[in-house]
Symmetry: C2
Subunit: 556 residues, 2 copies
């Protein structure tokens, strides 16, 4: 049996007119700003009209620690929404929009896969509605303004600039760059570097802002560097909040597209899951809850990073209360957590599966710690054997964990009916007692320790001297009452990517803190964090083409 | 009397639904790709449908050498099209789209002014339909690919890279940058720099390509540097033509908007007028001629640069035959060419006006040399005195030059009726004998000499030793049969910005040649050419804002 590629499947489906999709979820035509007939932005005025409407239920899809075997979290997110519609419920997807960098590089887009995709996938994976480009432009406008300010006399007395530039590409050569070489005999030359756009604090701000006023407040708070008195210099000090807000005015509006089964999908914002919180925008999630009875959303990486930040940063900031969590795993990935190499995944190995299950178990316990009802979703692959499936179900039954098998990649919504029914029943019967895992007003050390011990299962945290100095500095500046945004390897519950399964007896090493004052969190870096990916030996660009009829190939 | 600002005038007019505008010029709904209700892209399939339709007339609007007094070339372009419609003719505008850099910096947008503007001006001056962002992305994808290729082993043996990076901002600090510092211990570190996006060769290519196939051919021909044998390395050698074409697939389609009086306007492409040819896209101009009886277009800077390159590069490449030229001047600007300072322009000064007229006269003679019928358009200002107007009209009458006064800034199309009537009569009565001024197959020196002597009125050209070596090199590589793209100060007919009026007894100093092999021209640089503008002391960004109702202010 040969499978079609994702782009072939996507191109074979005729999308509904986006006005029909909008109508199906109660968005009025005058609230739509069309981008062609298959994409639209939604005016923020809609919130005024729907102010008194009761919010629908919010479902987070998260996963075990990712492995090279793949888990299919986006695919399950989309497939679950399709399945909910299939069983007669009104559901909507709220997910992130992809960066062009990985599309042209290696990872591919972020449109789901198989028969659980959002479309038009080419547009989504290319320029979409221009949000990434607007964020790039706003971000680099700040940089251009800063260097010009220094060039023109440096009235604000900027001593050093912490604000880097961005480009929405994987461009290794720009990680570090020396700029301002050509003027004033290079007197202002300085070290700089480019991050990928999705690592921009402005991306995180777009995703956390509640409206235009909040956007401007957050933009103004951004710290771009420090003056000669070592006082922070903000974007408000530069006087360009209004200009940035104008550049971002459309990027703030959520985008509406559809799944292959015409389920409405709000695809908006895509902050990096390491240097930022890795969730789609608060505005899109809130809008989903106003429009649908069930909003299915996701967060980057595994539950230790993605769900934790979704709960502790996004839900805290937006006052959201998630009603249920779906924890996605695959038998293949659990076997890798149990010690099997990727090449061996085709062979039945129940022992390895059982050895890998503790990774899933820890994430499930974490969901319990956050007080949110959960279901485990097993994304089924053809190679999974009956014995393996039986062993997994037996474990779940013994521990009393709700679990459902899904085949949404192969069958779309029809492959997720069992999961959808369990989720609906769970929400109906089990109230959520969601609460963040730490108090934002606690000390930085306390917050770090709570995350490390409770969520990662560590013995505690170890801070470098530099971090201790930074904590003292943040306390002096009054920046210590912010939530923590952990930047940790996604591959392990620990800060060592090699420790799979459920590691124990380890500490989390905090190497550096960074303040994202506009986004409203403190980034805690454990180990090196990549804010600008590189291209691989054979970039995807080499395989992308368009024919004379305008048909695109090679996007995935 | 107080005047409204351009943005106030523009915001006061309710645009027609772009589908109505499209319908008014024969674009079918299925050929439109809507970007909201006031902007659309037009599918290139339209050319197939209109293949056998007779082309309408093509009118170029150009000007005397620009001065700080302003001439209003874009305003006359838009106003003339409005006026043609006013007198019952079917007309369309074909003009360039602006770069964000100047919008955030100093120069402002490029939407015309007063009652002769295209709308929506905010969108046009911000992200519009994303063309600039697509070009930025395609350009920088080449850069990322090159540095990755070198990093991964440099199979092609790239010795030095001539391809720079771009950003669509005025960012002085990026003019020169050292990149690739962070990997392999900086072994691949190299000097690089950023141009503004409109200076990208890809922008010039978008504007000269006739269709997708031609776009790919031109992209493939781009020279990105030289290998160890000093042989050119092209984008085709890199193997990424298809990926770039996918990134650019929508940017290649012309954009349809409207004027304040609902005249259709194709606004597409905006190459720098120094390093490139400064005209809107061939595709948009050709489409205008298929859709309307009169297409009014413009070219950057004065007629010595803009019209010359429009004729010798764009019309030659596209096989276009312009039917008429409008040469725009103002009495204020002519007085500056006659030696008056800007502060003194309010005072009547007929002598200075007469002293400045030879600048206009030379440009008019040049239009005669190209064989294209012309009209002089005087953009009238309130401060122009009756004596000055009379002196100018008397000069025109004595020399037999057709001339018309226009007040399109203040009165829109109604202010351009006299001009429109003259243009229509001119085209009806006077056939165009257009031909380029030089043969592309002539030697580089011959081509340079012809432009310098015939168009600028110079005694000849003087080449540096470096240029002589480059010419020998281009002849060796077979690149010498391309048209020349002159990069010269726009303020003077000579290469010295201070020589106003009609200078004589000068030579043109050719300092450097650059090959734009994809665009298909050789750039000849006279003096320093700025490919990345800087921000002024008080950037426009400081005055741009958006209120809670989404109303933008400070764009101009």
């Amino acid at each position: 049996m040969t499978y079609k590629s994702d782009i072939e499947i996507a191109q074979a489906v005729a999308p509904s007119d986006i006005r029909e999709i909008a109508d199906s979820c109660g968005v009025e035509t005058n609230e739509l700003e069309l981008y062609g007939y298959n994409k639209a932005k939604i005016s923020l005025d809609i919130f005024k009209r729907l102010e008194h409407k009761t919010d629908g239920k919010l479902i987070l899809v998260t996963a075990i620690n990712p492995t090279p075997a793949g888990e299919g979290k986006s695919t399950v997110t989309i497939g679950l929404a399709q399945a909910l519609n299939k069983i007669g419920k009104q559901a909507i997807v709220a997910m992130r929009e992809p960066s062009l960098g990985p599309v042209m590089g290696m990872k591919g887009g972020a449109a789901g896969g198989g028969y659980a995709q959002v479309i038009p996938m080419e547009d989504l994976n290319l320029h979409f509605t221009g949000d990434m480009h607007a964020i790039t432009t706003a971000h680099n406008s700040v940089s251009a303004f800063i260097d010009n300010h220094i060039f023109q006399g440096n009235e604000l007395g900027i001593d050093h600039v912490t604000w880097k530039r961005v480009v929405d590409l994987n461009d290794r050569a720009l990680r570090q760059a020396v700029v301002a070489l050509s003027d004033h005999n290079g007197r202002h030359a300085r070290n700089d570097g480019f991050d990928i756009t999705v690592a921009s604090e402005i991306m995180a701000i777009i995703c956390l802002a509640s409206d235009m006023t909040d956007l401007k407040t957050r933009l103004g708070r951004i710290i771009i560097g420090f003056d000669y008195q070592q006082k922070p210099v903000t974007v408000a000090d530069l006087g360009i909040v209004g200009a940035l807000a104008v550049i971002l005015k459309d990027a703030l509006k959520p985008n509406l597209i559809q799944t292959l089964e015409h389920t409405p999908a709000l695809v908006h914002g895509g902050p990096f899951a390491n240097i930022a919180h890795g969730c789609n925008s608060v505005i899109a999630t809130r809008l989903g809850m106003k429009l649908a009875d069930y909003t299915v959303t996701e967060a980057g990486f595994g539950a230790d990073l993605g769900a934790e930040k979704f709960f502790d940063i996004k839900c805290r900031a937006a006052g959201l209360k998630p009603d249920a969590v779906v924890v996605v795993a695959t038998i293949r990935a659990l076997k890798m957590h149990g010690g099997v190499e990727k090449a061996e995944l085709g062979n039945e190995n129940v022992d390895a599966l059982l050895a890998g299950i503790p990774n899933l178990e820890k994430h499930v316990e974490n969901m319990q710690a956050f007080g949110v009802p959960y279901v485990i979703a097993i994304n089924k692959f053809v190679a999974d054997t009956d014995n393996e499936v039986a062993a997994l179900l037996e474990w779940a039954k013994a521990k009393g964990h709700p679990i459902a098998l899904t085949e949404v990649w192969e069958h779309g919504g029809a492959g997720g009916v069992e999961l959808a029914e369990q989720v609906v029943e769970l929400i109906a019967k089990t109230p959520s007692h969601f609460a963040p895992i730490y108090d934002a007003d606690a000390s930085i050390v306390d917050k770090l320790t709570t995350i490390a011990k409770t969520v990662y299962g560590a013995d505690g945290v170890r801070l470098t001297k530099a971090v201790e100095r930074q904590i003292a500095e943040y306390e002096r500046l009054g920046f210590d009452r912010l939530p923590i945004c952990m930047a940790k390897t996604q591959y392990s519950l620990s800060d060592n990517a090699k420790l799979l399964g459920r590691p124990q007896g380890f500490e989390i090493h905090i190497r550096e803190l960074r303040i994202s004052n506009g986004a409203g969190f403190i980034v805690a870096l454990t180990g090196a964090v990549m804010t600008m990916p590189g291209l691989p030996k054979h970039p995807a660009m080499l395989d992308i083409d368009i024919d004379e009829d305008g048909v695109v190939k090679g996007l995935f």
